[in-house]
Symmetry: C2
Subunit: 235 residues, 2 copies
DNA sequence: AATTGTGAATTCCTTCACAGCC
DNA sequence: GGCTGTGAAGGAATTCACAATT
């Protein structure tokens, strides 16, 4: 196993590969080639081999990858063999929707607590039965409940304060939904999901004249058409 | 204005700059330099100037950018001067949470319809009063309501089918929350927000030995420490 | 024959560094 | 003097292309 540093683009893709392998496994399929995987995601097959190559040699030349084995390897690499305990700060609509999101348990994530500053919510539970604590209790609950991942689902103006609190509580991994640029301490990883930015980026795309909207898919298609044309003409 | 192709990284950042400018404007500030903006986001100031430079010359040398002007320019560039009408497919917890999300209206997005296949929901309205239609009515409602952006908030197994439906209805911009690799037609832009992948990527980070967790912030800090040390030593 | 693993080539993105301007 | 705009340099990510392997 090499020890270069791995980009987030790579780890994101590993997660996507793993999901696909899980599906292939439950369909009873035994092996898969990088080419077949690549087609699922419109990626280049070398991309997949490179991504895996950072961590070892998992494939068999001439055959591809044994799905069960690669699945186990990726699960280990991504740290999904150990359970993760998630606390969600902000018990509003988004926070509670996330708390009830099924599909996290497959990845060994369990939402164990929500936090809010609204006294009418504190002491209650979500529809799914997850307790809602006072936001001032973060440090204690993080310790008691062994929370290692925090989700920030509060308004932007409160986000940095909440981040500071969860960092103080010792949480090292944070998924942030607040549209705010957060400053994290060293050793703390914050991933921001920004809905407004995603939509505004789509808006930019819509604002381009149709003819200028050359997407990756379009470029690939063009290349393919050229390839076909070239082949047709013979060379 | 140049006519190179603009990367999504750039458009995402433009959206973030715009949000910040809006805040600065409401704080009554008149001008801002690329350096000041960069500090907000831990970016390099040249990055910001480059991003803006793709679209024109908006700054004033020696002064920086006039916030009101740049705000208007970015709003135009991102296509946010025209309203966008959003339809959300999937009136589950996530879909309804998104429908009620305030903060989209600031960007000129209005959620005008939800769609679901659950007959007990169809015909009803969300808490905020947005009507829920049968998913089979997508084409008609998209046309009647002038929907130009779709949000997919359905289970993964239904996502490609839903995408096909909204593409057929003529929608060219889609924000997808389903954890599924979707194939879009040419000229249709799909942005996927994948919560599981985000969390699994955080899990990878947590699985690294503490000493190996060299984040960008960490590298910057190291560089800074070196710079200070060098200065201290005099050269 | 098929497919991996990987250096080399390429493409894309970021940062530097400085001329030009206010 | 301070700050923009940008060509050039540097760095990162992707893709090519092929030797190695089963």
């Amino acid at each position: 196993m090499k020890r270069e540093k791995i980009s987030e683009l790579t780890t994101n893709r590993l997660s996507v590969y793993l999901r696909c392998l899980n599906e292939l496994a439950s369909a009873g399929i035994k092996t898969v080639s990088s080419q077949e995987l690549a087609e699922q995601f419109n990626l280049n097959s070398a991309q997949i081999r490179k991504d895996l190559g950072y961590f070892g040699e998992f494939g068999v030349r001439g055959t591809g990858y044994y799905i069960e084995d690669l699945r186990a390897d990726l699960t280990k690499i991504l740290g999904l063999d150990k359970p993760h305990r998630v606390g969600i700060v902000g018990a509003g609509r988004l926070g509670t929707a996330l708390a009830n999101y099924n599909g996290l348990d497959k990845s060994n994530f369990t939402v164990v607590a929500l936090f809010d500053n609204d006294e009418t919510k504190v002491g209650g539970r979500t529809g799914g039965g997850i307790p809602i604590f006072d936001v001032h209790k973060i440090t204690k609950v993080v310790r008691d409940q062994n929370i290692d991942v925090a989700v920030i689902a509060v308004p932007a103006r409160a986000a940095q304060r909440v981040l500071n609190q969860v960092m103080t509580a010792g949480v090292k991994a944070v998924l942030n939904f607040a549209p705010a640029p957060l400053k994290a301490r060293l050793g703390v990883k914050v991933k921001t999901v920004d809905l407004t930015t995603s939509l505004e980026s789509l808006s930019y795309f819509l604002a381009q004249p149709q003819s200028k909207r050359i997407t990756k898919a379009r470029r690939d298609a063009t290349r393919l058409e050229e390839a076909i044309e070239n082949t047709g003409r013979r060379l």
